[in-house]
């Protein structure tokens, strides 16, 4: 397979990726709506190839305190998913899941933290399941994990892990908007090196050389 370090995707490829992102996001939103008994809408406004280090800007400021839900996946498609929530979004989501007053982001207790982890697990695993059905690729999600820290530091650690062999990342930005609480999350998809063409091929789109 050809190296794609300088890959520029055409509109056809980007449309296919955006569509795949939408289908995955839709599935995750449906499941989340059921859990929280509220309406969740997910939109996929952007699919783009970015230089790894440019993606830091997308985190809404490198020093912004966020909860980052991180999930590695392997199988016939390999990469990472990273879902970001702000302090306000976490308070809104956890308030619905565990009830009562939610601790500040840096002081989450064991129950709140594991609820957040479980939420990430359900959302991200369902996202991947939909993508797997769409593409026909077997995708195995690993155990997700949560970090609460500066957005820049979180995204950077994930990129170092997935970008070890490549300077580029596919970022499909997904917004997860809770109809009532207004909790908004951002989902980044980071295929490992040379994995983007695997997905495009499975989706029936031939990437240009």
């Amino acid at each position: 397979m050809a190296r794609r370090d300088n890959l520029l995707l055409g509109s056809l490829e980007l449309d296919a990726l955006r569509e795949a992102g939408n289908i995955g996001a839709g599935r995750a939103a449906t499941v989340l709506s059921k859990i929280l008994a509220t309406r969740i809408e997910m939109t996929v406004p952007k699919a783009q190839i970015r230089e790894v280090w440019d993606a830091l800007e997308l985190a809404g400021g490198a020093e912004q305190l966020v909860a980052g839900l991180y999930l590695r996946f392997s199988g016939q498609w390999r990469g990472s998913l990273l879902l970001f929530y702000s302090q306000e979004a976490v308070a809104s989501l956890l308030g619905r899941m565990v009830g009562g007053q939610v601790s500040p982001l840096l002081e989450l207790n064991e129950l709140e933290r594991s609820a957040l982890e479980e939420l990430g697990n359900i959302l991200l695993a369902n996202f991947l399941a939909a993508l797997s059905e769409l593409s026909g690729l077997y995708i195995r999600p690993m155990v997700p994990t949560v970090a609460i820290d500066m957005a820049g530091a979180i995204i950077q650690e994930v990129m170092a892990a997935s970008g070890e062999q490549s300077d580029h990342a596919l970022l499909i930005t997904t917004e997860l908007v809770e109809a009532e609480g207004g909790a908004r999350g951002h989902l980044l998809i980071l295929p490992d090196a040379r994995q983007l063409e695997v997905l495009l091929e499975a989706l029936g789109v031939e990437a240009r050389e």
């Binding site: 190296r3 370090d5 790894v52 280090w53 830091l56 985190a59 490198a62 020093e63 305190l65 980052g68 991180y70 590695r72 840096l106 690993m142 155990v143 994990t145 970090a147 609460i148 820290d149 500066m150 957005a151 820049g152 530091a153 979180i154 995204i155 950077q156 650690e157 994930v158 990129m159 170092a160 892990a161 970008g163 070890e164 062999q165 490549s166 300077d167 090196a193």
Partner: protein, 163 residues
Amino acid sequence: MNLTGSIRVAMADYQVAKAPAQLITTGLGSCVGIALYDPKVKVAGLAHIMLPDSKQGLPSSNEGKFADTAIVALIREMEEAGAQRIRLQAKIAGGAQMFNFADHNDHNSIGQRNVEAVQAILGELRIPLLAEDTGGGRGRTIAFDPNSGRLVVRTVDSGEREL
């Protein structure tokens, strides 16, 4: 941390500054920030490296991404700005591991490998490492002041400390 008159160093990048300008880099996770400093002429350089070794993985044209190539490139640029290699001192921060995987057996995290690579390269180049704030589980923002030679490290939960 005073952000006015500061030069921002992006991820996988390096910059050189003379006093009174400050060098700053935000959101170091497993990356390592390497501040080099010539106290006589007050020329400083800051690199934000992402990975330990340019010889692993695919070839990359980006010198700033790897510890080995970034430090060499940074020194070259500092020498052009009037610094002398023999006088250089170093302070480093970063190399954290924020995610802990239950099913992950690789104890040697990228952050730890980055720190070890930087220490080894500085040792080879005989540049004294005066202070470091590395490892742990927190992201860091750092600022270096070429006038005082101080490196300020900030985290989300324990405020600022000075190296």
